[in-house]
Symmetry: none
Subunit: 232 residues, 2 copies
């Protein structure tokens, strides 16, 4: 069983980072990664709100790119309160499965408080977790969303049910990113992106497709071999 990590991308308020650390310590999930915090790091307001969870803040790692923050993960769950126009599986928190945590290093990714995950951030996610909310107020506080995901993880961890391990370990995000970069540079060389305007969207679609494919490490190696053979 691998404990998930919590990744906050561009968090704005220190109070929220502190509240996230507190609930993480409540559920025994101690590894926090912070990408480009708005108000810098360390943050006094985060400390003040973390209560007995300040040790989570003390050992938090700060990154300046999301790709680096998720490099060692093989599954990244994004969170979104509203439906987004993107081809990603959407699940509820209670649909997470034990096998995923047994076989993979999982990251829970949360976007900035104001606007949530960007489309580029979402493109790096294997699936979206949506917490169903009332029509009267869709907007969950970020620490509340973290609480509910970690609560469901805690239930999985606490249960003794054994499940069959799936075949093959998923590729890490680093392996997938490497594959995508390799593809991008070779497509550039071959003038695949007809206009520079189109490229970001096309690359996002390619990323989505490769993430959705749930490549195993073997798959990733095979694809590399195929790409290399084609350009050779």
């Amino acid at each position: 069983m691998h404990k998930p990590v919590v990744i906050l991308s561009a968090p704005q308020m220190g109070e929220n980072i502190g509240a996230v650390a507190r609930i993480m310590s409540n559920f025994g999930v101690d590894e926090l990664r912070i990408v480009n915090p708005r108000d810098g790091w360390p943050n006094e307001k985060a400390q003040a709100m973390s209560a007995h969870g300040s040790f989570v803040l003390d050992q938090a790692k700060v990154y300046d790119s999301l790709q680096d923050a998720i490099a060692d993960r093989s599954i990244v769950y994004g969170t979104a309160s509203l439906e987004r126009f993107m081809v990603k599986p959407i699940i509820t928190p209670w649909e997470m499965e034990r096998a995923e945590f047994q076989n993979n290093k999982v990251g829970f990714l949360f976007g900035c408080e104001k606007s949530g995950l960007t489309n580029d951030e979402l493109s790096l996610c294997d699936a979206i977790i949506r917490i169903p909310t009332s029509e009267k107020n869709h907007s969950l506080n970020i620490a509340q969303a973290v609480a509910i995901l970690l609560y469901e993880y805690m239930k999985i961890e606490a249960s003794d049910v054994k499940v069959a391990e799936s075949i093959g370990e998923l590729a890490t995000k680093e392996e997938v990113t490497h594959l995508i970069s390799f593809l991008e540079s070779n497509l550039d060389e071959r003038n695949f992106f007809k206009s520079p305007n189109m490229k970001p969207t096309m690359m996002r679609n390619i990323t989505n497709m490769l993430v959705k494919a749930k490549l195993s490490q073997q798959d990733a190696r095979t694809l590399f071999g195929i790409f290399r053979a084609m350009i050779g």
Copy 2:
């Protein structure tokens, strides 16, 4: 289905009351009752933290006795993070059952932030709900505890809709029995049951299978059509 109410006994910080109102509005549980708030009522800090949930605060009722606040309830769940020396059933949030909300008016009772429910308050509770926490930090923020209980309630409430939508109307027992009889007489004709001794067990297995299948009325009609076509 009766929506539960949230009862805060002697809450201390307005910020927490506001965060509770916000998460209540997220999960469509709108009735908040407040017993003896430390800083009086209304409370500006509560308003500031409630975001789009301020309507919950606007309609909150304030009481000066817990007995009055729970008078119309038939089940009151107290919450406690640590084991208390009191003879009460202790359940986890996910052990709450749908039937309780169908048949009863339920209240979720939370004590003051500093020390939780007093023994007198606990004595009024039918059961205690305990959210399992890590040994490193047992102390949950009150709004986080509310979030988790209401999240479990939301799942119970949502399961109604889901079942109705996905399965369609179940076949009546009469329709299933009719299907089984039809099958039995036709299998008899074809000498399916090798020996008369075996038949009761085999029919019981077939019945179990068809009952377990939770056939909709449409499923039952389809199966009938298939059987008829096969014997035709």
